[in-house]
Amino acid sequence: MTRCERETVTHFAEQYRAAPDEVSRRIERAVIGGDWGANGYTTLAQARLLGRELALQPGARLLDVGAGRGWPGLYLAKATGCQAVLADVPVEGLLAAAARGQRENLAARAAAVAGSARALPFAPATFDAIVHTDVLC
C-alpha cells in the first residue's frame, strides 16, 4: 500500500465506521439528492447521467472504483439492473455498502472487493463499464 493509500484509509475509515443517522441522511438528501452515505459531490442527477453514458442495463457488468459506501455503484445496480463490483481501500465503507446491498435486495448482483485501484484482482475485459467519482484528483 502506498503512503497515499494509507492516508486514504486513515482519512475515510473512521468516517465510514459510523453509520449515518437520520439527520445525516436528511442532509445528504438535501445536498446531493440521495442517501447512500456519500459525502462528496456527485449528485443524483449526475449518477443517473453516469448510468446513461455507460448504457448500463440488466446483464451489464460495472466496476465502481473507490466506491466508499456504495455511491454511486450500488445505486446504479439498483437503478439500472446491472451487476456491480464495488472496489475501495477502506474496508469500513465496503462493509456498509454490503449491508446496504442486502437491504436493497442487491446481494445477487453486487459484490464488494477490498483492493487498490493500482492492482485490482480482475482479468482484462471482466467489466463492460467502469466508473469512479472524485477518486482521481
Binding site: 497515499c4 492516508e7 438535501a30 459531490y41 449528485t43 449526475q46 467502469i130 472524485d134 482521481l136
Partner: protein, 111 residues
C-alpha cells in the same frame, strides 16, 4: 469508462496550482490535463464536460446544511472535526469561485 474528477483549472500559474492542491480535496495535484492522460493511456473517444457550476453549488450546499445542523453534528462528530471540515469546504468554495478548481465528467472507451 466514465468518471467525475476535481482538478486544477486550465492555465494556472504555479502559485495558483499550489493553491488548487492546498484547497482542493486530498491529492488534487495532477500536472497534466486528463484528456491528455487518457489519450496517452490508449483511451479513445474521450469527452470532457465541465461540471464546475454544480460543484460550487454542492460545496455550498454542504456548508449550508452543516451550518443548519451544527449542534447535532457537533454532538455526532465533535466540534473540532466540524470546524476543520467546514473551513476546508469554505476554502474549496473560494478556490472554485476564483476559477482555480474545476470538476469535470470524462468519458472514454478502450479500443
Amino acid at each position: 469508462m466514465a468518471f467525475f474528477t476535481i482538478h486544477p483549472a486550465a492555465g494556472l500559474t504555479r502559485a495558483q496550482r499550489r493553491r488548487a492542491s492546498r484547497d482542493g480535496p486530498v491529492a488534487v495535484a495532477t500536472a497534466r490535463p486528463y484528456r491528455e492522460l487518457l489519450s496517452a493511456a490508449g483511451f479513445q473517444q474521450v469527452t470532457e464536460t465541465d461540471c464546475t457550476a454544480e460543484f460550487a453549488a454542492v460545496t455550498g450546499a454542504w456548508i449550508h446544511q452543516w451550518e443548519a445542523n451544527h449542534q447535532h453534528l457537533v454532538a455526532l462528530l465533535g466540534k473540532q472535526a466540524i470546524e476543520e471540515r467546514q473551513a476546508e469546504r469554505r476554502a474549496q468554495l473560494r478556490a472554485i469561485e476564483d476559477s482555480i478548481l474545476s470538476r469535470s465528467l470524462f468519458t472514454a472507451c478502450r479500443p
